[in-house]
């Protein structure tokens, strides 16, 4: 089986076309939301908080917002596509052809990564005007952005397969993805938290994605980017294994 088979490429292209056709909702809207976060939090907290020496709060906030947008949009892409297809019944067009489980997973996840990165790049392009940002280790930026988007894209596939209704998916997003993202250090360093909550944060995989991503900008982070990479890689492997298992079993797809 080839990962670049025509089947995979077509499904990947279809997923890209799907979000591109509604770009106002899938790209422009999240960029505007991130912009509003920056204006409000940056205005209120600028000059009052210094997380890293010599780094302004707005500069600290921007990578967090970029990564939050990457993660949330990667999740939204695969999960919303799958649940819509399940509910409207057109998922049958994916289930009838000879697409392998890997082709399906990779196509959905790859399109999620693209959407996450496009939105992230858009957020960065707009917000970068508000602070001076350095690129201490650009490779880490790319690695954590791609890994983070792939993880959330995979989580979106799992949620899309599991959910039978839109409100179940909304619950997954509101009670799991959103809190995990917000409590991962988008707006703060976990060193500013009490000891107990610092410890709790270390069980949140989203924290490692954002912390590693931020390291790429400032060359400093709460923990080593190598540690973050190891944890993020392991998390991705576990999620990919779960997603492939669900697809192989036809869980809630093939009865």
């Amino acid at each position: 089986m080839s990962f670049v088979s025509v089947g995979f490429r077509t499904l990947f292209y279809k997923e890209m076309l799907r979000f591109w056709k509604v770009a106002t909702q899938t790209i422009a809207a999240p960029i505007l939301t991130a912009m509003l976060y920056l204006l409000i939090f940056g205005h209120v907290l600028e000059g009052r908080v210094e997380v890293y020496p010599g780094v302004s709060y707005t500069a600290f906030l921007i990578p967090g917002l970029v990564m939050m947008s990457v993660l949330q949009n990667a999740f939204a892409n695969s999960s919303s596509s799958l649940i819509q297809s399940k509910i409207t019944g057109n998922l049958v067009f994916i289930l009838l052809p000879p697409l392998s489980h890997w082709e399906i997973l990779l196509a959905y996840v790859s399109a999620s990564v693209v959407r996450g990165l496009v939105v992230g790049a858009g957020v960065f392009a707009i917000t970068a005007w508000f602070a001076h940002l350095s690129f201490a280790a650009p490779l880490w930026i790319i690695v954590f952005a791609v890994f983070g988007a792939a993880i959330l894209g995979t989580l979106g596939v799992i949620a899309g397969i599991w959910a039978d209704k839109f409100d179940q998916l909304a619950a997954f997003q509101n009670f799991l993805i959103m809190p995990a993202t917000f409590l991962a250090g988008v707006f703060y360093s976990i060193h500013s938290l009490p000891g107990f909550w610092q410890a709790v944060s270390h069980f949140n995989p989203f924290f490692y994605m954002i912390d590693g991503f931020r390291h790429g900008f400032f060359g400093q982070s709460d923990i080593s980017p190598w540690t973050s990479l190891a944890i993020v890689s392991a998390f991705f492997a576990v999620l990919a294994a779960i997603a492939i298992n669900l697809l192989q079993r036809g869980y809630k797809l093939r009865h």
Binding site: Y13, K21, V22, N90, V92, I94, P97, H255
Partner: protein, 310 residues
């Protein structure tokens, strides 16, 4: 060559047995009908063939490829028109067909896509979004989607349900052409006249079991003779003629009207004589050859009465 081999397939949903050991063999090039009342298990069987449902017991092979263990090769050989009118609202007709081609590993398929659209009268809708199409047009796109990869086996699950005469004619003309060119066609329909006109062989399903499997001629021979339909102006049907009644059309509110099964035209005079003797007056009379509907009703009735299947 066997196009579809179904071996002792069983499927249950929460204790309800939708398929009870169905076995069928459909040969390459056949036009095969799968008939049965609602809830007979037709769609469950088709979904099993398509790999959308996994059997609890038994196996299905398409051109020798198991639909579960060798699903990629099995699906390459199969095109399915689903019963539900589903579509992807993001795309135009042409985009939909190009994407479907790609899922089957086919690039640059526009030549065949154009031909399918032409044959299904979709050409002038090629760049129209799926949402903007009427139900009949959406149905045509579903058929086109099933054909983009030129599958040797085509399964149509009630393709003409709720569509107009024009589409039916267009569809059957195209499907007949594909069948003549060697494609195997499996059809489920509630329009028995369609099945009678198109199918060479028929399986009838009832409550998850095959209750009849025969060629169309073989089935038609089973109901020997014809139907004599009489509408009585006066009097009643004599008790002696009651055993010949195949349809008591009074149940349909059509008045004093009966369909009587006869084996030879010579029996008509004897029946009329019995009616005259009983004082009944015939208002209208019609002699009809037995058709698939008679057979269907008879077989389903027999199956209901537990008279055995074959």
């Amino acid at each position: 060559m066997t196009a579809i081999q179904i071996n002792s397939v069983e499927k249950s949903y929460k204790g309800f047995k939708a398929l009870k050991g169905v076995s069928l063999s459909i040969e390459q090039g056949e036009f095969f009908g799968l008939l049965g009342p609602n809830g007979a298990g037709k769609t469950t069987l088709i979904s099993t063939i398509a790999g959308l449902i996994r059997p609890d017991v038994g196996s299905v092979k398409i051109h020798g490829h198991d639909v579960v263990t060798d699903f990629r090769n099995a699906r390459k050989n199969l095109g399915v028109v689903p019963q539900e009118l589903v579509f992807d609202p993001f795309f135009t007709v042409r985009e939909t067909l190009r994407l479907q081609s790609g899922y089957y590993g086919i690039k640059n398929n526009d030549g065949w896509i154009d031909e399918i659209m032409h044959n299904l009268d979709l050409t002038n809708k090629a760049d129209v979004n799926m949402r903007a199409l009427s139900g009949g047009m959406k149905r045509r796109v579903l058929v086109a989607q099933a054909l983009v990869h030129k599958p040797p086996v085509i399964v149509l699950d009630e393709p003409t349900a709720g569509v107009d005469v024009e589409l039916r004619q267009t569809l059957w003309k195209f499907i007949s052409r594909l069948n003549r060119e060697g494609h195997t066609v499996v059809l489920t329909t509630h329009y028995l006249e369609e099945a009678e006109a198109m199918c060479q062989r028929v399986a009838m399903l009832k409550l998850g079991e095959v209750v009849a499997l025969d060629s169309m001629q073989g089935l038609l021979r089973r109901v020997s003779g014809s139907q004599l339909i009489v509408h009585l102006k006066e009097g009643a049907l004599p008790e002696g003629l009651r055993p010949l009644v195949s349809h008591d059309e009074n149940e349909n509110g059509k008045g004093n009207r009966y369909s009587l099964r006869i084996n030879a035209p010579g029996e008509v005079e004897a029946i009329l004589a019995r009616l005259r003797e009983s004082g009944a007056v015939v208002d209208e009379m019609q002699l009809q050859q037995a058709d698939l509907e008679d057979i269907f009703l008879q077989i389903m009735g027999d199956a209901k009465a537990g008279k055995g299947a074959l």
